[in-house]
């Protein structure tokens, strides 16, 4: 795949945001907030960083792998997977509907290309990514394994079991990212369960930690992922703290937990789409 410029990646991101909103609106169900907030990350990963093959093979030998732990942001993943060729964009029309491969939360049961494990029940994805990364090491496969988690998800205990294990076993072909939007369903994380200082927590667990302070600026996100990659392979797992805004790209959705799991109305959708140019073509 030809290397895309930042402007080209931003153009893809605009279409992805339209896809997210149109999918969620069509079934009046789903999670637009953090999907919009993570759009730059997903586009940068799939259209710039990952060495991957859209002719999907579960084993992914010789490929970089990505795992989504906070599975509720499935709309952004489905859009990016289909826009990078894993399945036809028309299939986004089936999101969350009966007999669809695009389940509410990502699953392997229906065989959707691009998905390697079910996620949705939080806290499990990093363990899975570590296992995949260690299996690559056993096989001498020098590829990288990526995982994305939510910040609220850091409240799950299994995350810290995995954090301890990854450092102990020197899983340095793992790049984890936390979507640091400081929001969870019931409100700001600082009020619900204060995460205090995730950098200090992960550093004390033995990780290399970087901050991507502008997680909704495509250039910053690409640079952050490149920096994370440059720090991998040096004996430590790498954590990328991605500072984002929930709902980014739509003025009335940005920066609040209120759009965590709410679908826009017809009028709200029209308003939101008016803020996001159609660049590749709606499904």
């Amino acid at each position: 795949m030809e290397k895309k410029s930042i402007e080209q990646l931003e153009s893809v991101a605009s279409q992805v945001r339209r896809d997210i909103l149109r999918m969620v609106h069509a079934v009046q169900s789903g999670h637009p907030g953090a999907s919009l907030g993570c759009t730059e990350f997903f586009v940068a990963l799939y259209f710039d960083q990952l060495n991957h093959d859209s002719n999907f093979k579960m084993e992914g030998k010789g490929e970089d792998l990505f795992f989504l732990s906070n599975g509720h942001i499935s709309p952004v993943w489905y859009s990016v997977l289909s826009r990078s060729g894993y399945f036809s964009p028309e299939e986004m029309d089936t999101f969350r509907k009966l007999n669809s491969r695009l389940q509410g939360h990502p699953a392997t049961e229906e065989g959707l290309p691009g998905i390697r494990i079910a996620s949705g029940s939080l806290g499990q994805g990093m363990s899975v990514a570590i296992g995949a990364a260690q299996a690559k090491k056993i096989d001498g496969d020098g590829s990288t394994v990526y995982v994305l988690m939510g910040d609220g998800e850091q409240e799950e205990g299994q995350v810290w079991e995995a954090a301890m294990y990854a450092a102990h076993w020197k899983v340095d072909n793992l790049i984890a990212t936390i979507d640091l939007n400081r929001q969870q369903i019931d409100g700001p994380t600082a009020e619900i369960m204060d995460l205090i200082d995730l950098r200090a927590k992960y550093e004390s667990f033995g990780w290399e930690v970087i901050d991507t302070l502008q997680g909704n600026d495509m250039k910053s996100v690409v640079e952050g992922l490149e920096k994370a990659k440059s720090l991998s392979g040096k004996g430590k797992p790498v954590m990328n703290l991605l500072h984002t805004e929930m709902g980014f790209g739509v003025d009335f959705m940005v920066g609040t937990h209120k759009w965590h799991g709410i679908a826009p109305s017809d009028e709200q959708l029209a308003n939101a789409l008016g803020q996001l140019p159609e660049t590749i073509g709606d499904f």
């Binding site: 363990s127 899975v128 296992g131 260690q134 079991e161 294990y165």
Partner: protein
């Protein structure tokens, strides 16, 4: 009592079924380089030390973190590894049910969940560790295979067999030294019940350690003029319904025997099969809605009604209901 009986199966040696797992794992590891081992700080208890020593590059100590271990195992399957996780049955199931459900069963991952110290016979540690609900939890999960072998040889054979089978498996075994009475060269067929003793009056369906108790019970019943058929249901899911129905078509009644709650265990699996296809009287030998307690394995099997004498009593009771 056993010495004076004319047993159809005999033993010269006793050994723990967990050792059958450890030895089977080593052999599976030698056969297939994709076999990997994971253990949550119980390498000695699970008898995984020999595998770890021979294949250090394929063995992963996870520390006391079973949830993480299940996730890592699921992740390792993705490029073709065949992970065997080892911890006690309690920590292999109830503690990590959601991890197994989402990352292994629903995701269809080829993980072998190997669970020692199942049931009452782990003994003195008491009810916190004596899980009696694990078979129920695991058999409820779609895609999951559930196996509970009866002795060292069968556990070893089962361990080797599940490495060659593609899909998630729950393998349940235990701690006590137990008679070795099955063939060391046996071929283990997942899902295929084994008719060990032919009989005509009543069928005893047994699993795990209680298969030996069923063998003893058959001899006692025979000495009293009752002909019992003994069927070893080592695979509880998928259940060999054909074997169950064929036998009960002949005998007309059944006793189930297991070191587990009969609610959720082999008892209800057999009863459901009969209720649907050939309603016949069933009596359960199993734990009835209670937790265990500290004691020796023999004392516990007696107190909770799980030994040969209880199987004999259940057989007479069910015969009277025919």
């Amino acid at each position: 009592m056993e010495k004076t009986l004319d047993l159809k199966f005999n033993y010269t040696e006793k050994k723990d079924t967990r050792s059958g797992f450890g030895d089977g794992l080593l052999e599976a590891g030698r056969k297939n380089p994709n076999v990997v081992g994971l253990c949550a700080d119980l390498i000695g208890s699970l008898k995984m030390g020999a595998f770890q020593k021979e294949f250090p590059e394929r063995f992963f100590q996870t520390g006391i973190a079973e949830a993480n271990m299940m996730g890592i195992a699921a992740g390792m399957t993705i490029n073709g590894k065949i992970p065997f996780t080892g911890t006690f049955a309690n920590f292999s199931t109830g503690r990590v049910y959601d991890q197994i459900r989402q990352s292994i069963a629903y995701s269809g991952k080829n993980v072998k969940i190997c669970a020692s110290h199942a049931g009452l016979t782990l003994g003195e540690d008491g009810a916190t560790h004596q899980i009696l609900e694990d078979v129920g939890m695991m058999k409820m999960l779609p895609h999951m295979t559930v196996i509970n072998p009866c002795d060292y040889n069968q556990t070893k054979a089962a361990t080797i067999a599940i490495a060659e089978y593609e899909g998630p498996v729950y393998l349940r075994f235990g701690r006590p030294s137990w008679p070795i009475f099955t063939d060391p060269a046996q071929k283990f067929e997942i899902g295929k019940a084994w008719k060990m003793i032919e009989g005509t009056d009543v069928t005893i369906f047994a699993t795990g350690h209680l298969v030996w108790e069923a063998v003893v019970a058959e001899a006692i019943l025979r000495s009293e003029g009752i002909s019992a058929e003994v069927i070893n249901i080592h695979t509880i899911k998928p259940l060999d319904e054909e074997a169950i129905l064929d036998s009960v078509a002949k005998t007309g009644c059944a006793v189930t025997a297991e070191e587990h709650q009969y609610n959720g265990g082999l008892g209800d699996s057999v009863a459901q099969t009969l209720a649907r296809h050939n309603p016949a009287p069933v009596e359960y030998v199993g734990v009835n809605d209670s937790f265990g307690e500290s004691g020796t394995p023999t004392e516990l099997l007696e107190k909770y009604g799980l030994n040969a004498a209880n199987i004999v009593a259940a057989a007479k009771k069910v015969l009277a209901r025919k």
